[in-house]
């Protein structure tokens, strides 16, 4: 397996449980040592370092966990201070930095509480603050939102995106949730049985999934295939999948193509949404009318930059 993550990007690894994604992530900071091969982070080849050097390098790699892994016997402040004390900062420096971090993750009110007194989302915020304490180059997220409810997940993802944009930290995350990839990742690798089966920009991989596993994940958020087939069998006209990416999403292209032709259009299913900041749409439409007119519409749509394929 060969994987390169670019500086400053949010890279997602998605796979079903047991696919090897967690092992892959843990190889990045050598919590798990690969049997062969090398791991380089920010130009340093970790696999060749001594124990002590590795400890130093790990301080530049933040990590957050599905179950947060906070010290239960320490307050929020003490938890965040932990990596700073490891880095041997002075008492005053530690106190200052902890205050900055509490502010960054929005937990100013909760500094003196213990983890057991916090909600899941708050615990993960502590985890994030702790991971960012030593100004890391990279943040590893091990299923960081899998133990959280959907609303809290969105808030934590927004925080991660904000950190990536403000601080320029490269984020490598693993998840089994499509939603996570869709909302914050730039690039994605789909992993199955210990190998990468598909890799690329999120928008490409998920609008044109090639591998069955990728298809599975896409279907999770779309309507299921069998429902779709049932719907299609009951229709009279010709049915097409139309998809488009970018600014055209908000243009009246479909209307313009159809209006003069006399062809009737019905939208059977549709999604118009965004992947990270890029708008995209995917519609299943039915055209009822003459063959020549419909072909004319298809040509027009394609000319305007839409992707059209006929479904049978």
């Amino acid at each position: 397996m060969d994987l390169t993550v670019r500086k400053g990007e949010i890279f997602g690894i998605i796979g079903h449980s047991g696919a090897g994604k967690s092992t892959l992530l843990r190889c990045v900071n050598l919590l798990e040592r690969p049997t062969s091969g090398s791991v380089k982070v920010a130009g340093v080849e970790l696999t060749k370092l001594s124990d002590r050097q590795l400890q130093q390098e790990r301080r530049k790699i933040g990590m957050i966990f599905q179950h947060f892994n906070l010290l239960s016997m320490a307050t929020v402040r003490e938890n965040i201070a932990f990596p700073l004390k490891l880095a041997k900062l002075s008492k005053a420096e530690v106190a200052n930095r902890v205050n900055e971090l509490l502010q960054l993750v929005g937990l100013e009110q909760h500094g003196d509480k213990y983890p057991a007194q916090l909600s899941g989302g708050q615990k993960q915020r502590v985890g994030i603050a702790r991971a960012l304490a030593n100004n890391p180059d990279v943040l590893l997220c091990d299923e960081a939102t899998s133990a959280l409810d959907p609303q809290t997940t969105s808030a934590i993802l927004a925080l991660l995106l904000d950190i990536n944009q403000k601080l320029g930290i490269t984020i490598l995350l693993i998840t089994h949730e499509m939603q996570v990839i869709r909302s914050i990742c730039d690039r994605v690798a789909v992993i199955d049985g210990g190998t990468i089966v598909e890799i690329g920009d999120v928008i490409d991989v998920f609008l044109k999934p090639q591998h069955p596993v990728t298809q599975d994940f896409v279907d999770e958020v779309a309507e299921s295939q069998s429902d779709m087939r049932q719907l299609m069998s009951a229709r009279q006209g010709r049915i097409f999948r139309v998809h488009y990416v970018g600014n055209v999403t908000y243009e009246p292209i479909l209307y313009n193509a159809v209006k003069a032709s006399g062809v009737q259009v019905a939208i059977l299913q549709g999604t118009i949404s965004r992947m990270k900041q890029t708008p995209y749409g995917e519609l299943i439409v039915e055209f009822i009318g003459g063959s020549a007119e419909i072909d004319g519409i298809l040509a027009q749509l394609r000319q305007d930059g839409l992707n059209v394929e006929e479904l049978t």
Partner: protein, 219 residues
């Protein structure tokens, strides 16, 4: 019932002896037992210093000492006791067997308490660049604190009962008093008073321990 045989000065001396023996043996048991328990934990499977051979040998020794009844242990290590303290009698002669008997017991309790620490927390510390000593002192000892206090409490109570047993070989203290007057001379009143004092001592220790455990529990 009258308490004609009860001599307050003797009772007081015996109580002081019991307290002295319990306190000194507890201190040494905690130090030695904690170290032994820590080594047992660290060298066990899937832990920081995994060393199956070391763990196997230590575990075997601990099991052997723990399976010998305390009375037998006390008698069988008499030469060792004499070599260290110069006597096998009284308070001084009782402390070494108490430690030898209680340290392996405490070590097992320490091992169990450390095992209760969430692996994820240890892993997070490793990921943050913690060294092995950081993990022992900043993570394990902190996270296991309630369990360790509970272990100390149980061990202290066990030591009180061991001190009583040491009366058999002339160990002194309340147990000795109960044995010599209560059992051998049929002075039931002395026996009752000493047993009552032992009960009070155990209750106080357990209450103090529970208080500490509660004070440090965060879950």
């Amino acid at each position: 019932m009258t308490f004609e045989n009860v001599r307050p000065d003797e009772i007081w001396e015996a109580t002081k002896d019991t307290l002295t023996m319990t306190a000194w043996s507890l201190v040494f048991t905690i130090v030695l037992g904690f170290f032994l328990g820590l080594v047992l934990f660290l060298t066990s499977r899937r832990q920081l210093l995994q060393q199956s051979a070391v763990y196997g040998v230590l575990s075997f020794i601990v099991n052997i000492v723990r399976s010998v009844p305390f009375v037998i242990l006390m008698i069988s290590i008499m030469p060792f006791t004499k070599a260290i303290t110069g006597t096998t009698f009284g308070v001084a002669g009782t402390i070494p067997p108490l430690i030898v008997g209680a340290a392996p017991f405490f070590a097992r309790l320490v091992e169990t308490a450390l095992r209760e620490v969430d692996r994820g927390v240890i892993e997070a510390a490793v990921a943050m660049g913690a060294s092995k000593s950081d993990i022992v002192f900043r993570v394990l000892m902190r996270e296991a604190r309630p369990g360790l206090f509970a272990a100390v409490t149980v061990t202290a109570v066990t030591l009180v009962s061991y001190t009583a047993m040491s009366g058999v070989i002339g160990g002194g203290g309340l147990g000795d008093l109960a044995l010599r007057y209560g059992y051998q001379r049929f002075q039931t009143d002395v026996m009752l008073v000493t047993v009552a004092l032992l009960v009070i001592l155990v209750q106080l220790l357990q209450m103090a321990g529970d208080l500490l455990v509660r004070r440090y529990s965060r879950k």
